[in-house]
């Protein structure tokens, strides 16, 4: 039956056996017909040959008869001639008529054969002639006697004629015989042809028959295999498949379907579908099936979901369908019932629905108390539980309490619930406490039988059977326990445990988040209070520039009320002069950077400028800017103080110097004897006055220097200078002091070294170091001033034979006002600032300063300054062979940048280019530029912005070379436009050689700084 179905499904795809049979039979018939035709043709040939043979025989017979008749007539004639008795004439008398008869017969036989007829005619003539001759002889004998007759005979006419007749007959006979032989040969050839034809025909027919048989065999085999495959698929598929007659009688059912109900084929085949165990034990109504079969009978496809109970007692949900199969005429011949187990899917749908409901609950509920009942209800409905409880510790407590509940409606469990509410479980105690401690789920099949379930009595009273405990985890620790109870024992299946893990993790996260939110809210309230009452200006600005929050100090300082603030934009409160700078800062902040120590100017509602300093950062979420937060301090006062202080310094400096000038000059003139001779005592006093005024002058100079150092506005005028010259210059200036102290200054130039340095400043350092050495040297001692190469540096040393310095004192040595002791300082005429200034100057050069000393033996003060490399200065590989230098050229004019790059080509460095401030900053930082060259037509405001943007970077270590193309700057402006190690250069006045030397030296310094850092 199944193969019938499979055939009907397959019919159009393969040639049928029937068709092959038909072809075979047709071939056989054709062969038989051909053979019959050949045989008929052969038979007719043979019969024709036989008739011809008979005719030939008769012809010969008649011919013989003619001859014998003639012979008889001759014999009779001869007898009569000899004897004269009439009786001898008897054969002769009948001869004529017999010959006539024979001739007639012969003519008939030879009808159509003109040649033979001609011969016959000759024969007839000869025979007649012979007979008439004989008749003459007979007549002669009878009338004239024997002698006359003998005379006639002796003419031999008769004999000659008779010989001709004989010869003619022999000829005719041989003609017929040869014809007969020819005919016989033809017949034989024809017979052979027919035989060959018949044999070939039968061979062809056999071949075709064999081929057809093979084809039929194959077809049958293929059909059998297909049937087997079909059967295998049919039986092995997970789906339930069968075959019904249109009236619902079961014709086939696959193994899957049979196994499900534990039946054999015989149990169901031949039965009505609705009488089979599939449907008789199904909770789904039979009416639906019957209706469906009726519909399918009518040719419609029917599909519905049905519940079926299997042999194992498991009820599954089946997606059931009935498909009608029709024949060519459209008549329904079979129905295919098909069932697909969708229990898993149904379960998954329910599980998804449950999880979705839980997610929705947890995402919407504002507190756990609101979320918990709905959460528990979803779990119970999915897992068929009747009571659910969340156990949680209170705050920092170590005891679990029932925090939330849910129970099915109509359940009488008041006593159980009351007990539950009042029951605390410490960590590790009771089932909730143990699950809390172990963090493992636990299932109790029958609570009333479990000795450790301490609410068993109340649970039994409520009819509760089993219980499941499930830990709720967050961040790897258990923060709650869920308890589920049910009226029937049902071991939780894996899928339920899996789902519990997911939803309990969700709950855990929810609880954590809520508690974090609560803490945050609390701290927010606390901080809001701090913000509100802070004296700093605090603001939060949205991406569009509107204010999200400003504190009271902000409103008070800038004079806006809350309502006005809501209409303000960020740039409304930024002073017009500060806007470009603020925009630069904002760009960086929006990119996620926290910018510290921003100095800018706000403007109040009534137009007053307020200088502020503060930090700005961005609040980003998923890379999107949410707000920029700023906290600023009003530094208007401080700025004013700074300005006043700066003026004060300047005035003090001037106002102190003016009277000092008179004092110093007066004393100097007196000491020099210009005012006339003085007593020795007076001279000594004047000397004291003069030296102390000198010290006072140095002190004022040092204080001003220190002020500049502290303000970070200590500028170097760099040039390539020889170390020897620097030393000579310092020594020259101190010759008199040395002579006075009877100290010998010995310059020792170990290598010819050049440094890129501010000569005046380095001389100042050396002077300071040497004069210290002179001061502390005993009389007649030597002070050695040397310089040598040390790696990439020039090392200057000033060695004295003084008392030396204890190691513990060294760290304090270079601090301000730190001479070894106060009295000493005064005695030696120092200001206490000298070494601090030296240190600042040397470090500003990218160098180092220090002292090596052995108490009692003297001290060697040294300083290292980056040296200028000699011939291979441009290659820089002796600066740092590990990598090539990276130079960032920043400037808005691409052409000018290219010119700079071309000029620097001999350096074999890597060039980076930037035309915007933010780009320059990120390139300098990310690519670790060794030198930043800022190219500017002139010092416009953008350069200032750019530098201040760099200045906002914490401790920007990269040296700057600022190149001006159009006009040089005043020193005051250069002072403003300096940041860290900065050199200024007017491009037009700088030959290539000098330019390269300068860049190489700055690079060398940059490398040195990096080396020192690392």
């Amino acid at each position: 039956m199944l193969s019938a179905l499979s055939n009907s499904l397959r019919a159009k795809r393969q040639p049928s056996v029937k068709a092959l049979f038909a072809v075979g039979i047709a071939v056989m018939l054709a062969t038989a017909m051909a053979m019959g035709l050949i045989t008929c043709w052969q038979i007719s040939d043979v019969s024709r040959a036989r008739q011809e043979a008979i005719r030939a025989q008769e012809f010969l017979t008649q011919l013989e008869s003619v001859l014998s008749t003639l012979k008889d007539a001759e014999t009779g004639q001869r007898g009569f001639l000899l004897t004269g008795k009439e009786s001898f004439l008897e054969p002769y008398n009948g001869a004529t008529s017999r010959i006539d008869l024979s001739v007639v017969s012969l003519r008939q036989l030879l009808a159509g054969d003109s040649e033979a007829l001609a011969s016959l005619k000759d024969l007839t003539v000869l025979a007649k002639g012979q007979l008439s001759y004989w008749s003459d002889t007979i007549v002669t004998r009878r009338n004239k006697g024997m002698e006359a007759a003998r005379e006639v005979v002796l003419t031999e006419t008769g004999k000659k004629s008779m010989d001709r007749i004989r010869a003619l007959i022999v000829h005719m006979r041989s003609d017929v015989s040869s014809l007969l032989i020819l005919r016989t040969h033809t017949l034989e050839a024809r017979a052979t042809q027919a035989l060959v034809l018949l044999l070939s025909l039968s061979a062809c027919a056999s071949l075709i028959t064999i081929l057809l048989s093979i084809a039929i065999m194959r077809l049958l085999n293929a059909q059998r295999e297909a049937d087997q495959r079909f059967r295998a698929v049919f039986d092995q598929t997970f789906e339930f498949i069968g075959l019904l007659a249109p009236d619902g009688t079961v014709l086939e059912a696959n193994s899957t379907a049979l196994e499900f109900i534990g039946a054999k084929e015989a149990d169901v085949i031949g039965h009505k579908f609705w009488d089979t165990p599939w449907w008789t034990s199904s909770p789904s109504p039979l009416q639906t099936l019957k209706q469906a079969i009726a519909e399918a009978q009518a040719g419609r496809f029917v599909r519905f979901e049905a519940e079926h109970k299997g042999l194992s007692g498991r009820t599954i949900t089946v997606d059931f369908s009935l498909k009608p199969i029709k024949d060519e005429t459209g008549k329904v011949i079979f129905l295919i019932p098909e069932g697909h187990d969708i229990s898993e899917r149904k379960l998954l749908e329910r599980r998804n629905a449950c999880e979705h409901a839980i997610t929705a609950v947890l995402s919407q509920a504002t507190s756990l108390d609101l979320a918990a009942p709905a959460f528990l209800k979803s779990i119970c409905q999915f897992g068929i539980w009747n009571i659910a409880i969340i156990w949680m510790p209170e705050a920092e407590d170590d005891v679990l309490h029932a925090r939330a509940f849910w129970q099915t409606a109509g359940l009488e469990a008041d006593s159980f619930m009351d007990t539950t509410r009042q029951k605390p479980y410490p960590f590790g105690c009771g089932w909730p406490g143990r699950v809390w401690a172990s963090a493992e789920p636990a299932w109790i099949p029958v609570v009333s039988e479990d000795m450790t379930y301490d609410r068993a009595e109340q649970a039994a009273a409520a009819g509760l059977l089993d219980a499941l405990f499930f830990p709720v985890e967050a961040d790897g620790r258990t923060i709650a326990v869920i308890e589920l109870l049910s009226l029937e024992t049902h071991k939780p299946e894996l899928y339920f445990i899996q789902m519990m893990r997911i939803v309990s993790a969700q709950l855990g996260q929810y609880i954590e988040r809520k508690s974090a939110e609560d803490r945050l809210k609390e701290s927010q309230e606390r901080y809001r209070d701090i913000f509100e009452n802070a004296s700093d200006l605090i603001q939060s600005v949205a991406a569009d520039g509107s204010f999200l929050y400003v504190n009271i100090a902000w409103q008070t300082t800038l004079g806006y009320d809350a309502d006005e603030v809501s209409r303000l934009k960020l740039f409304d409160i930024v002073h017009p002069d500060s806007r470009p700078h603020c925009q630069t800062i904002l760009t960086r902040v929006n990119a996620g950077e926290a910018v510290r120590n921003v100095q800018t100017t706000f403007v109040t509602k009534d137009g007053r400028a307020v200088d502020v300093e503060g930090n700005v950062s961005a609040s980003l979420k998923d890379g999107e800017l949410i707000a920029t937060r700023g906290i600023f301090r009003d530094i208007t006062e401080r700025k004013a103080v700074e300005r006043r202080l700066s003026e004060f310094y300047s005035v003090v400096s001037h106002e102190l110097r003016t009277p000092l000038t008179s004092i110093r000059a007066s004393l100097g003139l007196m000491e020099g004897g210009i005012a006339g001779q003085m007593s020795e005592k007076a001279m000594r006093l004047v000397h004291i006055g003069r030296t102390e005024s000198d010290r006072l002058i140095r002190l004022i100079n040092d204080i001003l220097d220190m002020k500049k150092i502290e303000a970070g506005r200590f500028e170097l005028f760099l040039a390539e200078v020889s170390a020897e010259d620097l030393i000579a210059s310092a020594v020259d200036g101190l010759e008199s002091a040395a002579a006075e102290a009877r100290v010998v200054l010995s310059p020792v130039i170990k290598n010819a070294v050049s440094v890129l340095a501010d000569a005046d400043r380095v001389v100042q350092v050396l002077t300071n170091l040497i004069s210290n050495a002179i001061k502390y040297s005993p009389p007649e001692a030597e002070v050695e001033i040397s310089v040598c190469q040390k790696g990439t540096s020039a090392l200057f040393c000033v060695a004295d034979r003084g008392p030396g310095i204890a190691a513990s004192e060294v760290p304090r040595l270079f601090a301000m006002f730190r001479q070894l002791d106060g009295s000493d300082r005064r005695q030696k005429g120092g200001t206490g600032l000298g070494l601090a200034i030296c240190k600042a100057i040397v470090e500003q050069h990218g160098g180092r300063i220090g002292v090596d000393s052995t108490p009692g033996q003297g001290s060697t003060f040294w300083c290292e300054l980056p040296r200028v490399m000699s011939s291979d200065v441009y290659r820089l590989d002796n600066v740092n062979s590990q990598r090539i230098a990276r130079i960032l050229i920043a400037g808005s004019d691409a052409g000018a940048r290219q010119i700079l790059k071309d000029r620097l080509r001999p350096l074999d460095a890597q060039f980076l280019q930037a035309d915007r401030a933010d780009e320059a900053i990120s390139l300098a930082r990310d690519k670790r530029a060794d030198l930043i060259i800022l190219d500017f037509g002139t010092a416009d405001s953008s350069l200032f912005d750019l530098l201040s943007a760099f200045g906002q970077q914490e401790a920007f270590p990269t040296p700057f070379l600022i190149v001006y193309r159009a006009a040089d700057l005043s020193f005051e402006d250069r002072d403003k436009l300096s940041l860290g190690l900065t050199a200024h250069l007017l491009e037009s006045s700088c030959p290539d050689e000098e330019f390269l030397t300068m860049v190489a030296a700055m690079l060398a310094r940059s490398f040195l700084q990096r080396e020192q850092k690392s």
């Binding site: 001037h654 110093r664 000059a665 100097g668 003139l669 210009i674």
Partner: protein, 125 residues
């Protein structure tokens, strides 16, 4: 160049006294004094000094203005000017030089070596 007559411009009388002593007694020059920029301009016209020592911080007309006026005047435009000033920050020094000053001598100065410094600056014999 040869120096015989020096114009000293300073608003501080004490400095005028000590500087004059230094220039006259140590430098052996004739000294003309001016207490303000205006006086200085007048003195230049009348006395034709060989050199001018010019203070910067002066009331009314400061040294820089006086210098510019001098350079604009027919009489003063060729006379070398040395600033004698207490304002000796680096950038100040450079800007004075860039104005066209012959040199700068910082206050306080050593009166005994002042004439030598002046000679050094102007290359005087």
């Amino acid at each position: 160049m040869k120096i015989e007559k020096v114009l000293l411009v300073d608003d501080d009388p004490n400095i005028r006294i000590v500087a004059q002593m230094s220039l006259e007694d140590v430098g052996q020059w004739q000294v003309i004094l001016a207490a303000s920029g205006a006086e200085a301009l007048a003195a230049v016209r009348q006395e034709c000094p060989d050199l001018i020592l010019l203070d910067i911080m002066m009331p009314e007309m400061d040294g820089v203005t006086t210098f510019i006026r001098l350079k604009e005047s027919a009489a003063g435009c060729t006379i070398p000017v040395i600033f004698l000033t207490a304002k000796i920050q680096e950038h100040e020094i450079e800007s004075y030089l860039s104005l066209g000053a012959a040199g700068i001598i910082a206050k306080p100065f050593d009166p005994l070596s002042l004439p030598d410094r002046i000679r050094q600056i102007v290359g005087a014999s």
